[in-house]
Amino acid sequence: MPRPFVCGLRYTIAMEHRITLGAHLLLWVFPLILAVVVIATAAIEKLRTGDSR
């Protein structure tokens, strides 16, 4: 992974900058949680229905 991305991500997560908590939620926490929930739900559904396709 290119160094600027790693540094940038660490920078964002550590909230070292003047980004407010609300902006953090809006910018990356919400989409990340949504993506995880959607994928997890699909995986659970697949296991529950025994669908191997």
Binding site: P4, G8, H17, R18, I19, L26, V38
Partner: protein, 546 residues
């Protein structure tokens, strides 16, 4: 200044892109043998084409231009549209998609109008004619506006010269009408899949590359804070009612998704429940990637190109600045893809409204499968031509009327689609009240907002007279219904209720200054309430034969 090599490369890529669209249309046309194939692809769509097609066709050029412009202008707070849209996607793919597919399959319905009329019974075609009129009006405006947008995009990217706009409209219209005409629903879904993937790649790869060039996310945020510290807050410097009005309005965009006929028909066309489960993940991931990619493009564009006259062109400007000419051509094709994927879907819905809902449905001229296909193709050609004429002759009016299209469709049909999934929640009179109230309140509220924000527009001229225009329209509908012997007492109750609620919304927006609210939110709430109230009042007529 764009170099000669870049212009040539972009031209070549664009021509190849258009050829690919035509080839997909031709391939789909070879598999289209009848009316059911033409209007709903014979209910054979897989998860990928149904998922990407439903999302790509709902976003239009807005996602590659409007959404980018939001974060370019407002910073991180411009991203509030994304949760709104994604919540709309969630409701659509988890609640609407599986139930609507099942319902339409059991009913044998082909269009959203078909689902509505068969759900509540419509012996005199009152619901069918009302729904088709609203859909046709909104879709024609949409088709013309998208052709206008395509014309501008082609004129810019193909460097067509002084008469570029007209040629752009004509090129875009010919290609997309031919594709839709040849392959119908299947061609539209396949081209949507191709174009949706192109859009996702474009709005994801370019902004990430731009951020890397800026020096990473840390440098991006540092630069944004230097331009305006409010760019890094969720409220963007707004406070009080303005902030809450903004947030509710942005989240409210999502309310419209279940009511978009060109979106929900994709779920009806899904092959089986397994494909519906697959399309959920695909649609949601596409939405997250595209919305946040577009938002990031706006933020990166603000830092790299801070002096753009129009922030909505940030993605195009970034492509021309950063990418290799061939890649820039592909990225510009992605921008145009977002427009064309929507226009083809809307063109088909408008054509289905005329050929299937009006000619075969309301006029009772049921065609055999082969004739239904020919009728559908002719209708696409005529509506495509009409769209071109409107786009060429009435460009300014198109953009004025298109403001009503999304909210009008959303408020009229989203509550209805959701209520259709629950049997016996409302009756056919409630359904009529819902459509009329949704349309009426949308127009009233939008003009009310215009009245405050743009005193020089046509809004104020109309706004003062709207109360009696509303009454006149209601009287005309009642008269037509009575003369055509189509109205039962419940229909009259529905029309009067819709007129009263529409007038009530006029009082709300005029007297109490509620113009901060995006019109879809009150229109959705009032339409739902009117549907439930009318159904409750006309309860005794509920079980009449339909």
């Amino acid at each position: 200044m764009i170099g000669h090599t870049t212009v040539l490369s972009v031209d070549v890529v664009m021509v190849l892109y258009l050829c690919v669209l035509l080839m997909i249309g031709w391939l789909a046309g070879r598999r289209t043998h009848g009316g059911d194939d033409f209007h709903l692809a014979g209910r054979t769509l897989g998860g990928w084409s149904a998922g990407i097609s439903s999302t790509a066709s709902s976003e239009s050029g807005w996602v590659t231009m409007g959404a980018v412009g939001m974060t370019y202008a407002y910073g991180v707070s411009g991203l509030w549209f994304a949760p709104g849209c994604l919540l709309g996607y969630l409701v659509n793919v988890y609640v609407v998609a599986p139930r609507l597919r099942r319902l339409s399959f059991d009913q044998g319905s082909v269009t959203l109008t078909d689902v509505i009329t068969r759900r509540w019974g419509d012996p005199k075609h009152v619901l069918r004619i009302t729904a088709t009129t609203i859909i046709l009006l909104c879709m024609m405006i949409y088709v013309a506006s998208q052709m206008t947008a395509a014309g501008k995009a082609f004129a810019t990217t193909l460097n067509l010269g002084t008469s570029g706009y007209s040629w752009g409209v004509i090129i875009g219209a010919i290609v997309i009408t031919l594709v839709t005409l040849m392959g119908g629903f299947r061609a539209v879904a396949w081209t949507d899949l191709f174009q949706g993937l192109l859009v996702a790649a474009g709005v994801l790869v370019l902004p990430l590359y731009a951020v890397a060039r800026i020096g990473g996310f840390g440098a991006l945020f540092q630069n944004l804070a230097a331009i305006d510290p409010d760019f890094l807050t969720a409220g963007g410097g707004r406070v009080g009612p303005a902030l809450w009005g903004f947030i509710v309005g942005e989240l409210g965009i999502g309310l419209g998704y279940p009511g978009m006929p060109h979106v929900v028909t994709r779920y009806m066309a899904a092959r089986n429940n397994h494909e519906v489960r697959k399309l959920r993940v695909i649609a949601m991931m596409w939405g997250i990637a595209v919305f946040y990619g577009a938002g990031l493009a706006g933020l990166a564009g603000r830092v790299m190109l801070p002096n753009l006259v129009d922030g909505e062109t940030a993605l195009i400007a970034l492509a021309l600045k950063l990418a290799h000419p061939v890649v820039a051509g592909l990225l510009l094709a992605a921008v145009i893809s977002a427009v064309l994927s929507t226009v083809s879907s809307q063109l088909l819905v408008a054509a289905s409204a005329v050929s299937y809902d009006i000619v075969e449905g309301a006029m009772n001229k049921k065609q055999d499968d082969r004739r239904s296909l020919v009728l559908g193709r002719w209708t696409v050609a005529v509506i495509g031509l009409l769209g071109v004429l409107i786009a060429l002759r009435g460009e300014s009016m198109v953009f004025w009327f298109v403001l009503f299209a999304w909210s009008g469709l959303g408020a009229s049909f989203a509550p209805l689609t959701l209520m259709a999934l629950r049997p016996r929640l409302i009756n056919r009179y409630g359904a009529l009240a819902c459509m009329l109230t949704g349309t009426g309140v949308t127009i009233m509220w939008k003009l009310g907002i215009k009245n405050v924000t743009d005193p020089t527009s046509i809004g104020p001229l109309l706004f003062g007279r709207l109360w009696w225009i509303t009454l006149l329209v209601a009287a005309a509908i009642l008269l037509l219904g009575r003369l055509g012997q189509a109205f039962e007492p419940g229909h009259s109750t529905a029309v009067l209720t819709a007129a009263l609620v529409t007038l009530g919304s006029w009082v709300l927006v005029q007297r109490w200054g509620l113009h901060n609210f995006y019109e879809l939110v009150p229109a959705f709430v009032f339409a739902s309430a009117a549907a439930l109230a009318v159904s409750w009042v006309t309860e005794s007529e509920r079980n009449q034969p339909g």
